[in-house]
């Protein structure tokens, strides 16, 4: 049984101009120990999906249909207090900016020990041992000393390591990581990605990794869901989706990323820009930018369906050359 299943999730933002769906009919499932990458441009709805899963949607946004199950149990309709307990114990969260995820007036140790003791029946001393152990596991040098220092005494990369320790120390079953490396320098980014992957393997936790960076997805995730204008357009194993994209958007996106190596005369590009939620077209949201567009694409919204190992929402998935 999947650890996390999200079925037909729709998040709606009511406004006086009428309500808009930030994400629509998003269906994903994550197995234990698996890393699912969610990738897309800003505004595609990837962060919103993560926020809906951990129950941190910003009002007035709310889940208007669909359901979220963690280990078979519905968690999308829980009262706030119950959701808070789940958030600490069973779902861990890692956000983009490590500085705002840590309390600046408490030592790193205090924060770790507090989290550990809130979720596990341990004495203060045992919790401290465990906290030191976690700092060591995330690669903080001299953890016995560093445990009593404050977040501002850490560098950016070290801080993100602490955030990861904090998210993992209650041994959650699921980790939502929202752009965990975006605020970091390239050479540090690689270290954090590798750390996240190693810890997920070691603890058997499932990870939903939200990022805009295809490179991060390629190096970290097992499966990837590509989002566009609030919907999943393609989902499947990373190797399959990245090397043989079936959806014209995924294909265009992959082609447009500059790479190391022989340089093309012209970088393939997708014309135009992603529509805002209020002005999404009735049919396929990608149709206005799609080179393969047919009349059906404008009239009818394609459903996500299987073509081989991946699932694609495109009327022409079988016909378009890979």
């Amino acid at each position: 049984m999947a650890l996390l299943t999200v079925e037909n999730l729709t998040v709606t933002f009511p406004s006086r101009h009428g309500s808009t769906n930030a994400i629509e009919n998003v269906t994903i499932h994550v197995e234990p120990g698996e890393i699912l990458g969610m990738v897309g441009e800003s505004g595609a709805g990837k962060s919103m999906t993560g926020a809906a899963i951990i129950g941190l949607l910003e009002p007035p946004g709310h889940i208007s249909s669909g359901e979220i199950r963690l280990e078979g149990e519905r968690i999308d309709n829980l009262p706030p207090a119950a959701m808070r307990r789940i958030r600490g114990r069973r779902i861990g969260a890692i956000f983009q900016d490590p500085l705002t995820s840590l309390n600046p007036v408490l030592t790193v140790g205090d924060q770790l020990i507090e989290t550990i003791r809130a979720h596990l029946p341990l004495t203060k001393e045992a919790a401290r041992e465990r906290a030191i152990d976690w700092l060591r596991r995330v690669g903080i040098p001299a953890p016995e000393k560093r445990i009593d220092t404050y977040p501002h005494q850490y560098s950016g990369g070290m801080r993100q390591r602490v955030v990861i320790a904090l998210a993992l120390c209650a041994e959650p079953r699921l980790i939502i990581a929202d752009e965990p490396t975006t605020a970091l320098d390239v050479s540090v980014q690689a270290q954090i990605i590798a750390l996240l992957r190693r810890l997920a393997r070691e603890t058997g936790a499932a990870v939903v990794l939200v990022t805009h960076d295809m490179g991060v997805i390629a190096e970290t995730a097992d499966r990837v869901a590509v989002m566009y204008a609030g919907r999943i357009v393609e989902v499947g194993p990373v190797a399959e989706v990245l090397t043989h994209p079936r959806h014209p958007y995924t294909a265009g996106l992959m082609a447009s990323i500059p790479r190391i190596g022989p340089r093309p005369e012209i970088l393939p590009q997708i014309e135009g820009a992603m529509p805002r939620p209020a002005s999404r077209p009735a049919g396929c949201a990608f149709a206005p930018r799609c080179p393969y567009r047919i009349d059906r694409c404008i009239a009818e919204r394609p459903a996500l369906r299987g073509t081989g190992a991946a699932q694609v929402s495109c009327h022409l998935a079988e016909e378009i050359p890979v």
Partner: protein, 318 residues
């Protein structure tokens, strides 16, 4: 997408010009859904109209001594016992119609209020812009002076400015100059708030890339301040100006009540209240009550509208 923000509205929906934004509907929508804003606006509209149309609405010209008839002095309101139908709200000890006096007094109070707010805004915006953009010693000098000014109660500073100017003018001109003295005294005391607000916004704006682009293109410092930064720091000023209008009207009333404002021959609301106050214990309540009611309504409406405007223009509260 760092935090779960509402979908793909552009990350920073930058505001256009104030007028464009007002018409775009956010502010208009907020106005339609705020009872206090709508009632305040209605009250203000009536009061402004009354002040502007005073010569046509009034039953007599209270400044024209020839129109007054001393036989009609101290008459109670028309509906009270002994009232006269010609004087709806009664007359004062000089036989001036209270209703007409209020209309003319309101006019004076609003002129002083608007003019002193405009003066304070011009001085405050200029100094704040200069200090925030130039920085260094100029900024330090302006802001320390502002700090000193702020450490005295406004009314005290206004009294001081008022006193100095009256001392400098020959006594014969006191009556004519009274309104100018008031405007200067109130205006020069209230600029600090504008200066502080504009200065801090200026310090944020001057480091933005559009300002760097202007520098690269050889635009002069004065040009950058006036045409680039100024339009981007005016938003909060509107809110301060609105709330300050209420403050200015009150300060004028206070100064006039203390006898250092408008003279009795040219009464503002504050002067009317002072005159009325002197006769309150002889049972002539109407001379003090009616101007007071108008003053309270005016200031309350201005403040409520200012509060609403502050919330409506603050994107975080929307």
């Amino acid at each position: 997408m760092a935090t779960p923000t509402p979908a793909s509205a552009p990350p920073r929906p930058a505001p256009a010009g104030l007028i464009a934004r007002a018409l775009s509907g956010d502010v208009a929508w907020s106005f339609r859904h705020s009872w206090s804003a709508r009632i305040s606006a209605l009250v203000l509209l009536i009061l402004f109209a009354a002040a502007i149309l005073a010569p046509w609405l009034a039953n007599q010209n209270p400044y024209d001594i020839g129109e007054l008839s001393l036989f009609d002095s101290e008459l109670p309101p028309a509906w009270a016992e002994g009232g006269d139908a010609r004087y709806w709200l009664g007359t004062d000890t000089l036989a001036r119609d209270v209703y007409s006096s209020i209309l003319y007094g309101l006019r004076l109070s609003l002129i002083v209020g608007f003019a002193s707010v405009a003066l304070a805004a011009v001085v405050g915006i200029s100094l704040g812009l200069l200090g925030g953009f130039v920085g260094g010693i100029v900024d330090a000098a302006i802001m320390r002076f502002a700090d000193v000014l702020l450490s005295f109660p406004t009314i005290l500073v206004a009294l001081l400015v008022n006193g100095i100017m009256r001392g400098a003018l020959p006594p014969a001109q006191h009556q004519q100059a009274a309104i100018w003295v008031l405007i200067l005294a109130i205006g020069l005391t209230n600029w600090v708030q504008y200066a502080r607000t504009v200065r801090s916004s200026t310090m944020v704006e001057r480091n933005k890339e559009y300002v760097q682009a202007a520098r690269i293109n050889g635009v002069s410092r004065a040009g950058i301040m006036v045409s680039h930064i100024l339009p981007n720091v005016l938003g909060p000023v509107l809110v301060i100006a609105t709330i300050n209008l209420g403050m200015a009207v009150l300060t004028e009333a206070t100064l006039s009540f203390l006898g250092v404002g408008m003279p009795a021959t040219q009464p503002s609301l504050g002067t009317l209240i002072r005159i009325g106050n002197e006769y309150l214990f002889s049972g002539i309540w109407w001379v003090v009550i009616f101007p007071s009611v108008v003053l309270v309504a005016l200031v309350l409406a201005v403040n409520l509208l200012g509060d609403w405007l502050r919330d409506a223009l603050n994107p975080k509260l929307r």
